[in-house]
């Protein structure tokens, strides 16, 4: 987290973007990034996250506000003078150049002596473990290899800032996990700052130092992955990050950050009160599928609600149960696939239990 003592490297100050001079695609985006941080901009498509990246790269103009790198405003700097490395979703390797020529391009642009270029290209080919591929063309490589080359090409001129625009979107699941590991490894080894755009939350959670969750041009929350997951600031974040159950109800009482909520159908639930919650107001309670337990259980609990079993699915490492509360709210529960996984038939009644600290009440 940025604090007063640490040095701010990249600063977005009330950045706005409008394409038609009427509606804002990005509304007052502010963010301080420290050197070496891995920041992910996460959000559904059309939420403005890519636009922020394009403004930082200089491919889109800034409508209002300011972006500065190391204390210098860059909004009036041409994109090719910003010295920012960029990795594109479709790799954007030059198809008419070999891998070595692709890697050498940013160095040639900087007029590096030929011998040094050769040495640096070999160094980076080895870094991505593709030492023998220098003479090949991008068309002869697999998707994962192309993305590694694209990554090396963005890093080879040693920019202090690297932008990645959904770089793993075109890869299959296994390759994606490998590449996540690869990017994290290089990030730790070389210590550059990353601004990473994705709509894949697992990718964001596993790689980032901080995540900014975008919706509708506004950052809903910017926090470390664990905090984002455990303490979402609002219902959108709770819904967007991971899975969640939402139980509508009415706030009866708020005391010491704890809300007592009456759920139609007779149940009363205690939950952590989020900001803006009022006594007597409507709310939704979010509780994650893996924090719920089915009686009998050895887990401690504060809340206890009876529910009717609807169905369950066998997923493999866990089993997913669907229950219905008396008021019709559907609840899904993840239970580890071990010997304790209970056996239910449709229409059976079960009792769901969970801790107060595992559920949050958001105002609606």
């Amino acid at each position: 987290m940025p604090s007063d003592t640490s040095e701010v490297f990249l600063k977005f100050n009330n950045v706005k973007k409008s394409y038609d001079q009427k509606s804002l695609v990005v509304k007052d985006f502010s963010l301080d990034v420290e050197k070496g941080e891995f920041i992910t901009l996460l959000g559904p498509s059309g939420s403005g996250k890519s636009t922020v990246l394009m403004m930082l790269a200089g491919f889109e103009g800034v409508t209002g506000g300011d972006i500065s790198i190391a204390g210098q405003s860059v909004t009036r700097t041409a994109p090719y003078k910003r010295n920012i490395g960029m990795v594109f979703q479709n790799y954007a390797l030059f198809p008419h150049m070999t891998i070595a020529e692709n890697l050498a391009y940013p160095l040639q642009v900087r007029k590096m002596p030929k011998a040094d270029v050769k040495e640096r290209v070999n160094e980076y080919l080895n870094l991505i473990e593709m030492g023998d591929f220098g003479g090949r063309y991008p068309g002869q490589l697999s998707g994962g290899q192309r993305q590694r080359v694209a990554l090396a090409r963005a890093l080879i001129f040693e920019p202090t800032l690297i932008l990645m625009d959904e770089p793993l979107g075109a890869l299959d699941k296994k390759l994606r996990e490998q590449m996540q590991y690869e990017i994290t490894r290089l990030h730790q080894k070389l210590g550059f700052t990353v601004i990473y755009v994705t709509h894949d939350q697992t990718e964001a959670l596993s790689m980032s130092s901080r995540i900014a969750v975008f919706n509708d041009g506004v950052v809903q929350q910017c926090a470390a992955p664990a905090e984002l997951y455990e303490r979402p600031a609002n219902a959108f974040v709770a819904d967007f990050i991971g899975e969640n159950n939402f139980i509508p109800g009415k706030v009866v009482k708020i005391a010491q950050d704890q809300a007592t909520v009456a759920v139609s159908g007779g149940a009363t639930i205690t939950a952590v009160a989020s900001e803006g919650l009022r006594e007597g107001g409507d709310c939704v309670i979010s509780v994650r599928p893996e924090k719920l337990f089915i009686q009998p259980t050895s887990h401690a609990y504060d809340n206890e609600v009876k529910a009717e079993h609807v169905t369950h699915y066998y997923v493999g490492d866990f089993i997913r149960y669907y229950f219905k509360f008396a008021n019709g709210t559907e609840i899904n529960i993840k239970v580890l696939n071990d010997l304790a996984a209970p056996d239910f038939k449709e229409g059976d009644e079960g009792t769901l239990v969970w801790l107060t600290k595992d559920c949050i009440a958001f105002p609606t």
Binding site: G85, F88, F94, P95, V109
Partner: protein, 283 residues
């Protein structure tokens, strides 16, 4: 040959062969007038028809004298030189201008795209005689009528639409993130254009240039209006040859022109396949 399906009735079979026959007839109708020129150009006699000896395949009835005649006639030599010179210069000019226009027109921020495209393509659509007449009156103001420069400019204008069309087509398959990638690596827009854009759209540029060359090479209407005796091109020379000195020399020239056209077409096809291969493996 494929066997006809077993369920075919008499009328199916009749239709099948009737279609085939019609197709070949149309093809013959299109090609025969061109192909007939080739053997006739080797006629030993100064006639435009087959002699008895030719039909009997008598070697004596054939000769290359009309080909020799081309290369001994100053008028023909001048017109060949003019055609190649004007064609090359006009094609170069229209390739450069057409490529720049196509690049500009394919930019997402270009305003009035449709209107400008229509204007630039108009020399291809407006009847040639009108274009030629307009050029004659306009160029005479600048003393360009009867000049080499005037003819090159006129032919460049006629060839440019072809370049714009072919280059726009190749650019539509061009991935803009390649351009952005070049910029992000620190190359100026002009450098990225040279190093990345041009090599990738080169097949379109070259085939556009070839089209422009052919357009100039067989153009006669504008030449009739604008060219003086010093700027006679091959088509112009053939045109007067038809009226003034009727002999198979023009058939020999025509055969050479067919040869050039065929080689250009083959070159185009090779280029097209190469670009397809390059793209097929690249993306």
């Amino acid at each position: 040959m494929k066997h006809l399906p077993a369920y075919f009735t008499f009328w199916h079979i009749f239709g099948h062969y009737a279609l085939k026959w019609t197709a070949f007839t149309v093809l013959a109708f299109l090609m025969l007038p061109i192909l007939i020129i080739v053997p006739l150009s080797f006629n030993a006699e100064p006639y435009f028809s087959f002699t008895e000896g030719m039909i009997a395949l008598d070697p004596e009835a054939y000769s290359t004298r009309w080909y020799a005649a081309i290369f001994s006639d100053q008028k023909w030599l001048l017109s060949i030189r003019n055609s190649f010179l004007i064609g090359t210069m006009a094609a170069t000019l229209s390739t450069i201008l057409g490529t720049i226009a196509a690049v500009g027109l394919s930019s997402p921020v270009m305003p009035f795209k449709r209107l400008i495209t229509a204007l630039l393509l108009s020399p291809m659509i407006v009847p040639l005689i009108i274009v030629a007449a307009g050029m004659f009156f306009f160029y005479s103001r600048f003393n360009l009528v009867g000049s080499f420069t005037g003819l090159v400019i006129a032919h460049a204008a006629l060839g440019m639409p072809f370049v714009i069309i072919t280059v726009t087509a190749t650019l539509s398959g061009f991935d803009r993130s390649l351009y952005n990638a070049g910029i992000s690596m620190g190359a100026s827009p002009l450098k990225v254009f040279w190093d990345v854009v041009i090599p990738l759209i080169r097949p379109g540029v070259i085939s556009g240039g070839l089209f422009a060359f052919v357009t100039s090479f067989d153009e006669v209407v504008v030449v009739l209006f604008l060219a003086g005796p010093e700027q006679r091109t091959i088509p112009r020379q053939m045109f007067s040859g038809l009226r003034e000195q009727i002999n198979p020399t023009i058939l020999a020239v025509a055969t050479l022109l067919i040869l050039i056209s065929v080689s250009l077409l083959v070159a185009l096809e090779i280029l097209r396949r190469r670009s397809e291969r390059l793209r097929g493996t690249a993306f």
